[in-house]
């Protein structure tokens, strides 16, 4: 079973917030993270890892199905770097 938003909402619910408030809080948190990355600002979480926005330059690519050359426009991607602490506990 995968961890989903629902499970996190349940944990927040256990703190004593109503179900609806718990959903709102989790959605707010997600929105804050997304907004930060959208504005190009990295999100650093000590003990977990960092979410970074990286700029990719235009490059020449190829359509793997047809073999046609095409130009891939420059774009931004989000990358994640695991913290040393999390990496250690995963490998224990």
């Amino acid at each position: 079973m995968a961890l989903t938003k629902n499970k996190i909402v349940e944990h927040v619910n256990e703190l004593g917030f109503t179900k609806k408030k718990s959903v709102d809080i989790v959605e707010s948190l997600l929105e804050i993270i997304k907004q930060s990355l959208e504005s190009g600002e990295d999100v650093l979480v000590s003990g977990f890892g960092k979410f970074c926005v990286k700029k990719k330059d235009t490059r020449r690519g190829r359509n793997p199905a047809t073999g046609d050359d095409l130009i891939l426009d420059e774009r931004n991607v989000v990358t994640f770097k695991c913290s040393g602490k999390l990496r250690e506990s995963i490998n224990k």
Partner: protein, 93 residues
């Protein structure tokens, strides 16, 4: 933005106390870390998904000295950006 800034932003946005916001931010990242430790997938719609990828041991090289070194098998969380986040990060400029 670091964890403290995340907490203050959540306090303001969700209209809750600072200690509540701190607890929730901690719960959020702890739940994800706990899931990864027990090799469970994570799927947060719109933001991202994670799974634990296993790497076999291999012979690597120390890039400084050129020396051969044995790299032990390891596990790392593999991050995949969600569709909404991917689109938003691209349309902002």
């Amino acid at each position: 933005m670091n964890k403290l800034e995340l907490i203050s932003a959540l306090k303001k946005e969700a209209d809750i106390s600072k200690s509540e916001a701190a607890k929730i931010v901690q719960i959020f990242f702890d739940s994800m870390a706990d899931a990864l430790v027990v090799d469970e997938r994570i799927e947060i719609r719109g933001l991202c998904s994670f799974y634990v990828k296993k790497y076999k041991s291999y012979v690597g090289r120390n890039p400084k000295t050129g020396e051969k070194v044995m790299i032990k098998p390891k596990k790392l969380p593999f991050f995949k950006c969600g569709k909404e986040l991917r689109d938003r990060v691209n349309n902002s400029q």
